[in-house]
């Protein structure tokens, strides 16, 4: 870990309750769910992490508490370094506050996470599905969502296949 990154990590660990981990040179801070917006603001304003190239989630099913991790990757255009944050999210009613107010690019990234993982971002301005159609049921990137192997539908056998499909919850 080099000096500027070290300064940012110490700055955050002094002020917030976080765990630090380093793997293959990538420094990750495990932060608590409700402090994400504050920490992102501090990192942007005081330590120069001025863009958010990465925001995604990981599902640790069948673990339920916490089931998800939301991963943030921040990048500093001055020092050209990455810093990663991870926030645990409960499996029962997955909620986390949006970082849209800090980085506008989080808007679509969070829409994608909401679409594919079903994590609700509180305070998000436009929480619609991004990849899947608007009325889709289920969240495909969850580990308990089946991979598929659907039959290919054509116009002539559409209704027939539709009848055979399992109904109910996924």
């Amino acid at each position: 870990m080099n000096e500027t990154l070290q300064a940012a990590v110490t700055g955050i660990t002094n002020r917030f309750k976080v765990q630090t981990a380093e793997f293959r040179g990538d420094v990750t801070l495990l932060v608590s769910n409700d402090k994400v917006v504050e920490i992102c603001t501090v990192l942007r304003d005081e330590f120069g992490f001025d863009s958010l190239p990465l925001e995604t989630a990981v599902d640790y099913y069948p673990k339920t508490s916490p089931r998800f991790h939301v991963v943030y990757g921040l990048y500093s255009l001055k020092t050209h370094q990455y810093l990663y944050l991870r926030a645990p999210v409960e499996g029962e009613h997955p909620h986390i506050s949006t970082v849209e107010s800090v980085f506008k690019s989080a808007n679509w990234r969070e829409r994608e996470i909401f679409d594919l993982f079903g994590i609700i971002f509180d305070g998000h301005s436009d929480l619609r599905r991004l990849e899947m159609p608007p009325g889709w049921e289920g969240h495909p990137l969850r580990k308990d969502y089946p991979l598929g192997y659907e039959e290919v539908e054509f116009t002539f056998n559409f209704d027939e296949i539709e009848l055979r499909k399992p109904k109910g919850e996924l």
């Binding site: 990981v58 991963v71 990757g73 990663y84 159609p133 991979l147």
Partner: protein
Amino acid sequence: MREIQEFSLDDLKHLLSPRALTGETVVLNMGPQHPSTHGVLRVILELDGEIIVNAIPDIGFLHTGIEKNMEAKTYAKAEVMTDRMDYIFTIGNNLVYCLALEKLIGLPVPPRADSIRVILTELQRIQSHLIWIGTSALDLGAMSVFLYSMREREMILDIFELVSGQRMMTTYVRPGGLWRDVPAQFNELVQQVIDIMPRRIDEYESLLTKNTLFLERTKGIGAIDVPTCLQWNISGPTLRAAGLAQDLRKTNPYCGFEQYDFEVPTQTKGDVYSRYLVRVAEMRESVKILQQALDKMPFGPTLTYNPKFIPPPRSEIGVSMESLIHHFKLWTEGYLPPAGAVYSSIESPRGELGVFLESDGGPNPYRVHYRTPSIPLISALGILSKGHFVADMVAIISSVDLVLGDADR
């Protein structure tokens, strides 16, 4: 038949101006099958006369669940799917996956493989910019540029076919190096491209750079400044056209890019014309990198020897029991990288292309996420097009160089 799920105007109420609901402005659908959307992009436009008040992009028509599918395959097999995302920067997609995997495992890469990786990604960058220059000129009504740029692209695709047997979906870059060494004619063919490209780029420039019709359609259109780019996390030529010289090949070098001497071209206006100038200059820089990489290309192996992760050479399997066992294990079970998460990124022709790879210690990737440059570009279309004419929307969409396969995955 299944009901086609659609947005209603009510769903988009918060994105449109209040005048849309009273009927003062018109809400118009553009795409997803519009020829100028470069794939299947749908944009919902709110128009005041011919002026765009709001543009709401809608993606997902090419969503194929590649990230989900990769979780069900071994690391080696999952790589084949990565070509299919950004279908005009396929080698880069392989490369970034391999870089992440190499970082996760700690695999070294031989210098010759690095140098060939550089040559191939730079060739692909030129190829991608050629498609871009052709199609975006076509969108503005300049037909002939497309024909010329496809001619040079053919030369580059022939090189890919020579090295890998495939013109586009090569899967040539593998964890720990390359599939195999390049054939003997490779250097000669790359040298041909290097020799011919500067003259050909001059040709495109003579068709467009001072063309009054082209200037009228592109100057001052779709301008964006650096702070807005950073807010929306826009990278690549669009950011450099706005004035910030951010290039991951310079700032976070991979594959030995630090040894090559090249400039990062920038412009200041951030409009469609600046993006055109930046891309043309980038092609010239790529030619410079190609020449240096070709001259410096060292001899040696192109794949690391590590039978725990990389299949041993065919010649060994017949004579060595261990190699046979390794080969069998690698193709049935796969390999087991250590548990942990890594992120690595490269500079694609559109911006930062990154891979977030998480392993739980098993043979399949636990989670793969592609951080694609097209998503920020599409999400900013509304900002870029505000206040311009509908006809300029075509110029703006093509100017940011979006690939829908890259955005939807």
